[in-house]
């Protein structure tokens, strides 16, 4: 689908002794790629998603998706008339139908109905062939979510909404599903809104990021930009870090390393089996970046990059500071964030504008 999503919602409710909850959001979401809606629990992520789906009615709402109005002051398109797919947090498969029956439920109602090859492709992509004749009760949590994702795809959506589809699964099951979600991104030209409170999921999957807190939008933009911001009230602690999109330049079989280029520089990373030329995503945690005033070769740290200090900000931990660094190449540049002790910053006299060497202790290829 071409065209962005313009969403404006206001709603409030009062609950018991609590102060209640209010959502007040006005956002434009790109009409392509995966947009993660991120925030702590209670920040209104799911409510926003439900408003977009039409499962919940905002007191005041305005929603345009790809040029079509789904909701405004006078109109409210009911959920079943909105061309979207929805994957719920826990499996929402119909218990009285087999996996196949659940998929057929979607196919029969899809407008336009998916072609047979398309249905077979979705079944293959989600690895469902051996599961089709089982009932939901006979499937594992991960398998159920795969069926639920396939079912949402088979209704021919123009927009896919996913509400923490991994939240109800344990770590092993999450790892089992993740590749299927990555296939979803590469295999379908379908905008996806993905609600999550896990930085790991966001770092692996998202292209864009919306950050919500207490029902308000606090940041939105391309993933790397938003993650590189230091002023977010987003307290990620040990998870603070950036993602960089890169490309594999060469693979060193002897040392098991891969040379990866990103905007502004190169990194040697553990080879994750990606072929040369392949686009990958690298996540660098702030705690894995240290600074030196000179380039030392007498260190075990492989990646040393010339950088300039851009800005500094307080960390949630008062002993620590966050420092944003710009790594500039000839034409392009990228930012990384380092998490340092105040004492080191003071000792090295680190300040905005200063040239330093960023030592990247480790970085992970996340896709």
């Amino acid at each position: 689908m071409s065209g962005d999503i313009d969403a404006r919602f206001q709603l409030a409710w009062v609950e018991g002794e609590d102060d209640g909850f209010s959502l007040d959001i006005d956002v434009r979401i790109p009409g392509r790629g995966i947009t993660a809606i991120f925030g702590p629990s209670g920040s209104g992520k799911t409510t926003l998603l439900r408003c977009i789906a039409g499962l919940q009615r905002a007191d005041r709402g305005h929603l345009r998706v790809g040029g079509e109005t789904w909701q405004d002051r006078r109109h409210f398109l009911p959920a079943h008339r909105r061309p979207l797919g929805y994957v719920f947090q826990e499996s929402s498969l119909f218990a009285h139908l087999t996996a196949r029956g659940n998929l057929d439920y979607a196919i029969r109602r899809a407008r336009p109905a998916p072609a047979r090859e398309q249905a077979e492709r979705v079944v293959a992509l989600m690895g469902l062939a051996p599961l089709l004749d089982r009932r939901p009760q006979q499937l594992s949590g991960g398998e159920r979510q795969r069926v639920a994702i396939a079912r949402a795809l088979l209704v021919s959506p123009q927009l896919l909404l996913m509400d923490e589809p991994l939240a109800s699964l344990d770590a092993a099951r999450k790892q089992e599903i993740m590749p299927f979600l990555e296939r979803l991104r590469s295999g379908f030209d379908l905008p996806i809104l993905y609600v999550s409170h896990s930085v790991d999921e966001v770092a692996r999957l998202a292209d864009h990021l919306l950050v919500l807190e207490r029902g308000r939008l606090v940041a939105s933009g391309p993933l790397s930009q938003v993650l590189g911001r230091l002023d977010l009230p987003l307290r990620l602690g040990e998870d603070t870090g950036v993602v960089l999109d890169g490309r594999v330049l060469e693979r060193d079989a002897h040392w098991g390393l891969a040379r990866v280029a990103f905007d502004g520089g190169e990194l040697w990373l553990r080879d994750s089996g990606d072929t040369v030329g392949q686009g990958i995503r690298v996540r660098i945690l702030a705690r894995d970046v240290s600074l030196a005033l000179e380039s030392h070769s007498d260190t075990s740290i492989l990646n040393r990059l010339p950088a300039t200090v851009v800005e500094m900000a307080d960390d949630a931990d008062r002993a620590m500071l966050l420092v944003r660094l710009r790594i500039a190449g000839k034409e392009r540049e990228s930012d990384v964030v380092a998490r340092l002790t105040r004492r080191s910053v003071d000792h090295l006299r680190i300040a905005p504008g200063k040239s330093v060497w960023a030592q990247v202790k480790s970085a992970a290829i996340v896709k």
Binding site: L55, A79, H80, L93, R109, A152
Partner: protein, 232 residues
């Protein structure tokens, strides 16, 4: 000794009555149960209480009011009279109508419980799969509430078979028309024909036990849905 011809007539009448009432109650009770399960209206409480009344009301009270309503000078009686249907008391259809009220909670409550235990999630999932309200009702609500319907049918049938007070009030004791098994037993006891009463009473005992046992077994098999009046 076995059953006399009059006994067989009473048994046949009882089964005919219970089947008719069960079918009609499933048709009437389903929308009522659905409304009670989903509404946020302030009328939910009053309607739920009205449906549940026969659980606590003496059958003679219910029968008395129905008799007044359906009698020749009652509003319903006048209407049926004007329509050329005669009056309903002391007829089979009078019994059917009275039994519908009397057995209503035994049908509505299991269905309502099953619908409530289903939760909103399957309906929301169906809505995101392009299913409209009627589509959702027939393809999601009804199949997922099936255990409730089975319980409702068994309990509604059994409860109608076991009716006595309302029938006596409204139907009297007309062989082949309103003399059901429970009334037949009453007659035998009145006339001290205990041996005949034993045959029918014993059969009713076995029947009722078998019904409750089957509900229990069915529920065990389908433990996922918390349903039924008896379980509350």
């Amino acid at each position: 000794m076995g059953f006399s011809e009059a006994d067989w007539q009473a048994i046949w009448l009882t089964l005919r009555l219970a089947s008719t009432v069960t079918v009609l109650l499933l048709l009437i009770g389903t929308p009522i149960a659905w409304w009670l399960a989903t509404t946020v209206s302030r009328w939910k409480g009053p309607l739920a209480a009205l449906v549940a009344l026969p659980l606590v009301l003496p059958p003679s009270v219910l029968g008395f009011y129905l008799l007044l309503l359906m009698g020749p000078s009652g509003p319903v009686g006048k209407l049926t009279g004007a329509l050329g249907l005669g009056t309903l008391p002391f007829t089979f259809w009078g019994l059917v109508i009275a039994s519908i009220f009397y057995s209503m909670p035994f049908v509505v409550q299991p269905i309502q419980n099953a619908m409530e235990s289903m939760g909103r999630r399957p309906l929301e999932a169906a809505a995101t799969l392009r299913a409209g309200p009627w589509d959702r009702f027939f393809t999601v609500v009804l199949p997922l509430s099936k255990p409730g319907f089975v319980s409702a049918a068994i309990l509604g049938f059994a409860h109608t078979v076991g009716e006595f007070g309302v029938i006596l009030m409204i139907g009297g004791n007309i062989p082949g028309e309103t003399r059901v098994v429970s009334v037949q037993i009453y007659d035998y006891v009145e006339n001290t024909e205990y041996a005949r009463a034993h045959w029918l009473a014993g059969s009713m005992l076995l029947f009722s036990f078998a019904v409750l046992l089957s509900v229990h077994l069915f529920r065990q098999r389908d433990a996922r849905s918390a349903i039924g009046v008896l379980g509350r």
